[in-house]
Symmetry: C2
Subunit: 457 residues, 2 copies
């Protein structure tokens, strides 16, 4: 049986003989008896195994090393010791897999930097037991939210010949023999796998729009890539994004969905990863649970970019970056504005020149129907917009912004073939996880992070 099953109905197993398999997380030895801190990874909780001279093969058990895989046959009893209500009195402990003395994951506090270096072992450490289970649970929360509401899950393509944002440095994908390209001096894309240059996607939005025009409500949840050479706590070269897209949905409808979804996810994770969140609350970010519970019950403010600038300008703060109409806002402004409203803030109607070409142009000629969600303690968590549904206005905007129309005919045609008001947003999954766990560095919420110069395991 597993520890998850055991803890699910623990009273039922009291005084019963059970068999469990898992790993020694710590081993404390006394002369006449010993304690094994045992975990099998199926839940965050461990259980203590007690053995003594009466246990079969005492000397062998006593010699078992931290990190080893073992099988335990024993009786579940109430514990008289501190720190646990139950423990297992062992009848038999057998070795399933030994652990070398050079095991790098010792039962002590390791730095997160060191743990990254042993990335293939770190999921065994408490912090990553918590983080990666929360990652899994949060992913399920997202699928549950959209599937219960009839959204179609779209696997957007990863390899692409188009570049959504017109920005974003991209990884090139090729089967050309680069040694040969160098030695021959010839670069012939006709001989490449797709017969033309191809890259890794930076967004599934454009394909998402095609599906929204067929299924009305859709979402993507898949990997995206950025080849930016930035070494910050919040940038990774490979990360997962959620990009829902809804037909017959305007900017207000979009905000309703964003707010509802985020509250659903947070509630779901609080419920389904209770022990893991509690651990993070205790050891990663004090007050995490309070922060999350507050979000669930909070009212999200909706305010225009212009109004935000007005508030920022009035504020008696010595800004590093002066807030200006028509310009982007800085991290310090985001922070101020969520504190000002004491909760999450939707900032709408952004200056068109700092936003993407596909966003719905407002009638003022200056702004677009874009919305960023600013969350206390997380900054910008989602970015979305109503999409420009007018063919001529869209193509004009592309021309103005220097976005090539060639190769984008299919996207433009969505406006000619039964197009309609529609909206969508994107949420970086890792940004959500940083918010949910309190972990600061994106490298610590991705199983095997890829960043400039780093592609290990």
């Amino acid at each position: 049986m597993t520890l998850k099953e055991l803890y699910g109905e623990i009273e039922k197993y009291l005084d019963q003989t059970i068999e469990i398999k898992g790993w020694i997380r710590r081993h404390r030895k006394q002369k006449e008896f010993g304690f094994i801190d045992f975990s099998d990874g199926t839940c965050f909780k461990h259980i203590q195994i007690v053995y003594d001279k009466e246990t079969k093969d005492f000397d062998h058990i006593d010699a078992l090393k931290h990190g080893s895989a073992i099988r335990v046959l024993g009786t579940l009893v109430k514990s008289e010791g501190k720190g646990q209500d139950y423990e297992i009195k062992a009848q038999e402990v057998t070795l399933e897999g030994d652990c070398g003395d050079d095991y790098p994951l010792q039962p002590k506090q390791h730095s997160r930097e060191f743990l990254r270096e042993i990335g293939y072992l770190r999921p065994r450490a408490n912090l990553f037991q918590a983080v990666f289970r929360i990652r899994s649970v949060a992913a399920m929360a997202i699928h549950t939210y959209f599937q219960e509401r009839g959204y179609v899950y779209l696997h957007a393509p990863l390899i692409t010949a188009s570049d959504c944002e017109g920005a974003g440095e991209m990884f090139q994908v090729t089967t050309l023999d680069l040694d040969r390209v160098a030695s021959s001096g010839k670069l012939d894309y006709n001989k490449d796998f797709f017969g033309k240059p191809a890259s890794l996607t930076v967004s599934g939005q454009l394909q998402g729009e095609t599906f929204a025009m067929a299924f009305r409500n859709i979402y993507t949840f898949g990997p995206t890539f950025r080849a930016e050479n930035s070494n910050t706590k919040t940038h990774a070269s490979e990360f997962w994004m959620i990009e829902p897209e809804m037909a017959f949905c305007d900017l207000n409808g979009l905000m309703d969905i964003e707010e509802d979804m985020l509250k659903f996810i947070v509630k779901y994770v609080l419920e389904h990863a209770k022990d893991e969140i509690t651990f993070c609350d205790q050891f990663v970010e004090k007050g995490l649970i309070e922060k999350l519970e507050k979000l669930v019950s909070s009212r999200f403010t909706r305010i225009t970019h212009e109004e935000v600038i007005k508030i920022l300008k009035k504020a008696k703060v010595d800004w590093e970056f002066t807030p200006e109409y028509g310009e982007d806002i800085a991290k310090e402004h985001e922070k101020y504005i969520t504190e000002y409203f004491n909760g999450p803030v939707f900032i709408t109607d952004w200056p068109k020149d700092i936003k993407a070409f596909y966003m719905k142009q407002n009638s003022d000629g200056k702004t677009v129907a874009a919305v960023d969600l600013e969350v206390p303690g997380a900054g910008e968590l989602m970015g979305g917009s109503q999409r420009e549904e007018d063919y001529d206005r869209l193509i004009n905007r592309m021309n103005e912004m220097g976005v090539p129309v060639e190769g984008m005919e299919w996207y433009l045609n969505l406006r000619r073939f039964g197009g309609c008001i529609h909206s969508g947003f994107g949420m970086g999954f890792e940004r959500l996880l940083i918010y949910l766990t309190g972990v600061e560095n994106i490298r610590d919420v991705i199983p095997y992070p890829r960043t400039p110069g780093n592609c290990e395991f």
Copy 2:
């Protein structure tokens, strides 16, 4: 409201005025009245809109084109016509988005080849309304199966510097300026993004094993890539895989899970995509539902590769490929053996020389604890194995097979640091979808397929 909501409680809305938004799938006009076949993509069912001279703006409605987006205000009534129980008597029909006369998706039978060329419109066609919703529902079935059983969902890395199978041609990922590589004649990987050559993954298994050693039961569900230059109905360059990996699980336990999971998925899809499966049963593969229901109730046979060869050799069949001990089996053999047992067959204990290095070596010195699942009408649907947990045997096998040990130390170390008996399998998601829908070509179950020479949209 949406059609899904409407059909969910249709009796409740009888004689009520409702508002719906969606698309004209067909428009039949008479002199005094007209019929619009309306769909909003939220469910497979359409609804008929009836309008007549009394409807506001009759002439405008009459002029509405197939493919247009519309808003309908009308009353739900029982239909007296054939083919539907209910219809909507329109009070108002307004145009939300026009559709050009050059709309390529006409209300007639198009070839699948043509539909691939208009890949951004084909999700609106009935076949792809069915296929891509089944894809979405099947994905949810998989997540539900594993999450309900406590498995941790792992996002394995896509960009990798190692090659799992030692086989499989891979796409290279680079940020080097290839024009410059050609013109300068210099190829310097120190200047590449990761400081070394990197590729797109062909499998997340190795990383999966690291997580199984921490969480016991894990699964991946993500994209994988093959740069094989093969243009067949079953090969795509980008596809999704499910790769569960279980610690303390042997080959028999693995087969239990594979069987249980597959039956769960099929039942889930039959239940959650009833209309779509019924459509596929009628128009794609006659007898599909019967095939699927039979699978759910069937007993899966378990038999060794050697026994299979014995049966094939005894068979009075004029084989194209002669079955031989120690060799792989051909498609014709797979077909014969599932018909022989009249159901799915697990073939176990394969000759080691035709299987991967990481598979558990059996004591006979000739076979490995591998298992392929052969399913009637689908061929090989899953492939898995118990993994070699012995460090020395694994390293010997790698040396024998010429698999480089360098760069794989972390994988090997799993056997030195609390390793244990463990097993896993891989299932190609598209192969499953071909089986679930009856659609024959992998290009028709992937939203935007990538194959040699093809990277559109």
